[in-house]
Amino acid sequence: MNKTTKAFGLALALTTAMAGAAMAQPTEVRIGVALEPPILDPTAGAAEAIDIVVYQNIFEGLVRVDQNGEVEPSLAKEWTISDDQLTYTFKLNEGVTFHDGTSFDADDVKFTFDRIVAEDSANAHKEFYTPITSVTVIDPLTVEFKLDEVIGRFLFDLARGDAVIVAPESADNNANEPIGTGPFAFVQWDKGSRVILEAYQPYWGTPVHLTKATYVFISDTATMTNALLAGDIDGVNNFAPEALAVFENNPQFHVLVGTTEGETILATNNKKPPFDNLKVRQAMAHALNRQAIIDGATYGYGTPIGAPFAPHNPYYVDLTATYPFDPEAAKALLAEAGYPDGFSATLKLPPVAYARLSGQIIASQFAAVGIKLELINVEFAQWLEDVYTNKDYDLSIISHVEPFDIGNYANPDYYFNYDNPTFQALIRTLNGTTDEAKRKELAIEAQTILAKDAVNGYLFELAQTGVWNAKLTGMWQNSPIEGLVLRDIRWTE
């Protein structure tokens, strides 16, 4: 055998060995994610990127939200609610351990909630849990919550990433070494590159299919596309709509289109003239052509909305016809409001594609009725300071991804600057109601008020557009809560 043949044989053997190794790993998955979380502790930061990695994978709450947005048991296997709706008693699952081997019991639940509401707590959503007046350990597997007011969505709040159960032994290190009770344990975080999780063997619940999951952080869309095509990653939970065409007709991939909790709005500073004038806001609502915005800004992915509510929500009502696209009506209303020649305003746009593109389309739609918009591009940190904190803006475009966040409109200090006592009273009633039929009625009334008041321009619900290897199954199509739940994901062959 001469040298060339030997080398060729060796190369062939190596290639075969490598291909064999690649095929023998059907229980691992590598997922591309655009944003790297700054920390991995969901109780100390609100970045969606944190929940994408840890929610229901590493950390679990007493209850959890399923794919359809329904609350179901998790660490608590059952619960009772007192007649006055102020006492919740949870029965906990037995044999649950944290990934460091320590056991889980009612003391951990008490520790978790005492920590959330503590004076020096930095929980981003402390306000959801402040109505809890006491958490009492009845026995190691029973815990009782007392509330000082009725909260209609208390169980949903317990299912959020902000309320996952942590242990006193490990809570302080969760930012960089998260220890939870979930089906996946944290293994390694190569900062700037990837996070590796492994199935936790003594897991208390139903065993998962995957043995290992790696989150790979890739911020650039074109790079992510190449990584998918090259097989370096197996899927992306939510991918840029402009790149989907590459995968739609490729049999190696499937594009999973679902809904999110992201209501995209033309945020309006309701106290600032001329936006304090209802007719001006109505004129703007008439000037918006939602379908054109969706086609241009999200390549057709997205559902038109007429109020700040997700279309998949059982309380949703279609209010897109409240102020249909009608430039003539918009001009007439502007004239009535005292702006026959229109006016000029600024539109501050955060650095996300849907906002920047929507901004250009809306500017041209508004120009057609006489409203001249100056587009100002800002970074996200600057957006938070200018628009969100200081309310120093006329108009902005942003998606509100928190589930069930209509309550923001009842806060007169929220950046919309919307102060409506009737609405505030309605939300108080809604929050204090647990009867489902009654809640639905109130939620619809609340949506109708906001739609009629044209508080913001309601544009569209962001779609969830996942791209996955065609052999993978079990991914959530919709995201009713922030997160990327790995539990049901598996290879089909």
């Binding site: 609100a46 959503h125 790079t223």
Partner: protein, 317 residues
């Protein structure tokens, strides 16, 4: 010589202090509150205020500035706001990517750029010269992220010879780590190699017009021998100057290339930290880059002074 060295060290320290002051002040002017960024869009003002205090953001600017300097003098670069981990460790972790990446790119650009420049100069005015120079001009004009994309498409997507990006830590698998840096260092090296080729050619052409080459020719050497023995070494001087300057550009270029190849390097670290308003991390990483550059300059100065006494006499009368 002692006085000269002392003066240079004082200059070095003063440069660093001024740089630190400017970085601190500039970053402090950026709109955007790190605490607000951490807690996100629906956080209550009370939570944000709490976090600001935890992060030490409520102290006056001069206190934070001197606290930062004092900490660094003791080797403590502070704790990252967003990642809640020591800044020094975060930066150290990233050097394992950016340093080899820059060095590989530098080596490739020298190995490719210099011979091409010499070749072009030797064939001045001929077709080969034109081809090399046009290619080099294109190499300078092509953005390295675009070149990186093309490399990925060919070698990762179509041929599947190399990974499209990502990085395996050196201690885990040095082979894989090296493979991960091949395409990015090629992308990074392209414009540098092009510049070097052009500079080398020009320098060499200049040199061939010098008297000493004529003398060498008169002594019976062929043009090729004369250029090789006397020309190349002299032409290398301007090339070395460019090479020194290029190192800074290389480090800047890594920001883009690291994003294209999703490599966890310093460039990507600074890029993310700025958008997250993790000011203490940005400051720490920037000051380390500045220390590297100014220390290199200091060492070069000292080395020159050792080699060439005229220099130190001129600057230290």
């Amino acid at each position: 010589m002692i006085l000269f060295t002392l003066r240079r060290f004082l200059g070095f320290a003063a440069t660093l202090f001024v740089a630190a002051l400017v970085i601190f002040w500039l970053l402090d002017q950026l709109p955007g509150d790190p605490a607000q960024f951490m807690l996100g869009i629906n956080a209550t003002p009370a939570s944000v205020a709490k976090l600001r205090i935890q992060m030490g953001l409520d102290a006056p600017a001069y206190e934070r500035f001197f606290g930062w300097i004092w900490g660094m003098l003791q080797g403590d670069f502070g704790t990252s706001y967003s990642q809640r981990a020591p800044v020094a460790g975060l930066i150290w972790g990233r050097l394992g990517v950016t340093l080899p990446l820059s060095i590989f790119a530098m080596i490739i650009s020298i190995v490719v750029g210099l011979p091409l420049g010499i070749l072009a100069a030797r064939r001045r005015g001929k077709a080969l010269d034109t081809i090399v120079m046009v290619t080099a001009q294109t190499g300078i004009a092509v953005p390295n992220f675009w070149f990186g994309m093309l490399l990925t498409l060919l070698f990762a997507v179509v041929l599947r010879w190399l990974p499209p990006g990502g990085f395996t830590p050196w201690h885990e698998n040095p082979g894989l780590a090296f493979r991960g840096l091949i395409l990015p260092s090629l992308a990074l090296a392209l414009p540098q190699a092009s510049i070097l080729a052009r500079v080398m050619r020009t320098a060499l052409v200049d040199v061939t017009n010098q008297d000493y080459i004529r003398t060498a020719r008169a002594k019976g050497l062929t043009m090729g021998e004369a250029v090789w023995r006397h020309g190349v070494r002299n032409a290398l001087l301007p090339v070395l100057t460019i090479l020194g300057l290029q190192f800074a550009y290389l480090v800047a270029g890594t920001v883009i290339v690291e994003n294209v190849f999703y490599l966890p390097g310093i460039g990507k670290l600074i890029f993310t930290a700025i958008s997250e308003r993790d000011l203490i991390l940005v400051r720490g990483a920037t000051i380390i880059l500045i220390i590297t550059v100014t220390a290199t300059m200091l060492l070069t100065d000292l080395a020159y002074a050792v080699v060439d006494p005229r220099l130190r006499e001129r600057s230290a009368p």
